[in-house]
């Protein structure tokens, strides 16, 4: 009897979706419904290492980064109860970055960090709106894209071709072209921006 009970219960358990199989949106929805921290905990498990890395980048100090991660997820616990978030990763990124920048401002770091802040903010805005995304590249159609790539400057053309069309890594591109890794990233970024402009102008 007991065995039957166990088996029948487990049959139901077997088909129950594991917490790790929920999408971010599903977890957020469940959290808004019942307020149970287990859902936030799963989100924490998924993204806390990235948040920690991000905090390390801005705060440049392990202790501060550690504290920041805790503070950020405490914020999540409070805010996500009522807020609807459509793209959790982007939202988490904004919250985390803003938190780090607030920490930097409030600790009155040396003025050059404020320059970093302004530079980062403007660079981020630039990235978000002015650069061709992968999806847009796919939509552009291969022929149009190849024609557009030919119009790029040589170094941008080389990097874009090698990275996106030949699927090479930064390291391989560095080795084959002799550019530094910073130059490769810069050429890719500028190339994508210019591609967007070229494709938009040919519509």
């Amino acid at each position: 009897m007991k065995l039957t009970f166990v088996i029948s219960e487990n049959r139901r358990l077997f088909f129950k979706k594991k917490i790790s199989q929920h999408t971010d949106i599903e977890l957020l929805e469940k959290y808004r419904q019942d307020g149970k921290s287990v859902w936030i905990g799963e989100l924490y498990n998924r993204y806390s290492h990235l948040v920690f890395g991000l905090c390390l980048k801005y705060l440049k100090d392990e202790e501060s980064a550690r504290d920041a991660v805790l503070n950020i997820f405490e914020k999540l616990i409070a805010e996500l109860k009522s807020r609807e978030v459509s793209t959790f990763q982007h939202w988490l990124y904004s919250v985390s970055k803003n938190h780090c920048l607030m920490v930097l401002r409030s600790e009155s770091r040396e003025s050059k960090r404020k320059v970093v802040y302004h530079r980062e903010v403007s660079a981020h805005v630039l990235e978000e709106y002015d650069i061709l995304s992968h999806a847009q590249m796919r939509e552009a159609g291969l022929l149009r894209l190849e024609a557009a790539i030919q119009k790029l400057r040589e170094e941008q053309k080389v990097c874009i071709t090698q990275f996106y069309l030949k699927e090479r890594s930064y390291k391989e591109i560095v080795e084959s072209t002799g550019y530094s890794i910073g130059e490769v990233k810069s050429h890719l970024q500028n190339g994508r921006r210019n591609l967007k402009l070229i494709l938009e102008s040919t519509i």
Binding site: V38, H49, V51, L56, Y58, N71, A123
Partner: protein
Amino acid sequence: MKRSLEHSVLPTVDEIKLYQEGKLSKSRTHEIELLTQENPMLADAIEGYAAMPLFGAMPGVTAVLGQKVVVGSSQGAAGILKSGVSLLHLNSWVVGLGVGVAATVATVVLVTTSDKSDLNENEIVESATISETDENVSEATTNYEEEINTQQIQNKDQVLSASVASEDAKTSEESVKREEYNIAPLASLETSGLKSSIADKGIAASSAKPEIERTPIVALGIVPVLNHRVVDYSNFTKKKWKLSDACANPGSAQDVAEGYSSESDSEDYLTYLGYIRECMDSYNKGNYKIAAFGFQHILSQYPDDLNALFYGAMSYYDNEQPVLALELLNKAAKNPISAFREETFFYQAKCLKMLNRIDESNQLFNEVIERNGDFRDRAEAELAD
């Protein structure tokens, strides 16, 4: 199934480490680089980890995420929150622990940590199927192939062999972890009620401690020493450093060199950081020659000491000895620890400029500008000159 989840393509901490060491497969490397172009959080995170003095300084991570327990599933690799939410990982723990009785009872264990009603409905059975455990592991290996740290595979074996004991509901993982790392509880999460809510519900999970495979953790921090950033090699160098009285009144080079000897009969010893502090003090006071000797003494025993390489180079640079400075800076630039990478490039460029090697100098200034860090403005100013 896993691939359809948006977070599943993101690299774990282990993968980020392997990526930065260049040990990932080409396809996964390219995939991560593609992801960084679309995912600014990932890009920033990778940059943040790269700036850590030694990537393996996981205590910082573990203190936040809890004990990093590699249990053969991708879930374990994400880190486990130590206090209240730590029981969320019990899925894999309970599954693993239950394997011992899986031969007799073929059931699946789910742990819902905060839902009392679920507990009532779903009687938790301390068992698991071997197939499910294998599924978790094979899923991880299928997704990230052989480049994932083989420790995960080894840990699977450990988990499979863990025995199930008949214990009470309270897990003692937290105390195990705290003992190991002497880390205070995450008070903020406790106050948020996560821990207490789980403890109150009395999760009926086995508290038999599985063997925790801990990845080796190397803790190197950056500490301030007299307003300079210094990599703390304390645990990796000799414990006793001696600054003899000769250094207080610098005489001949021989006296100065001997003054920084690490061997002495005197009872007055300095720690590594204390020794660095003395060298820095000389540097700050403009006694560049003495500082350089001090740093060279470190290098004679620890040729990869980044502090000695970089600040020794700065001592030579400020003493208008660009050739000697460049020699040390070139080594610092190749050091696996990237703590001073940007300033190293900047001062390499400055030294090359002093030596009238303008093309090489400009190339390095451009590199600094590309990095877009704290030295960008100064590099731009140098190029404008």
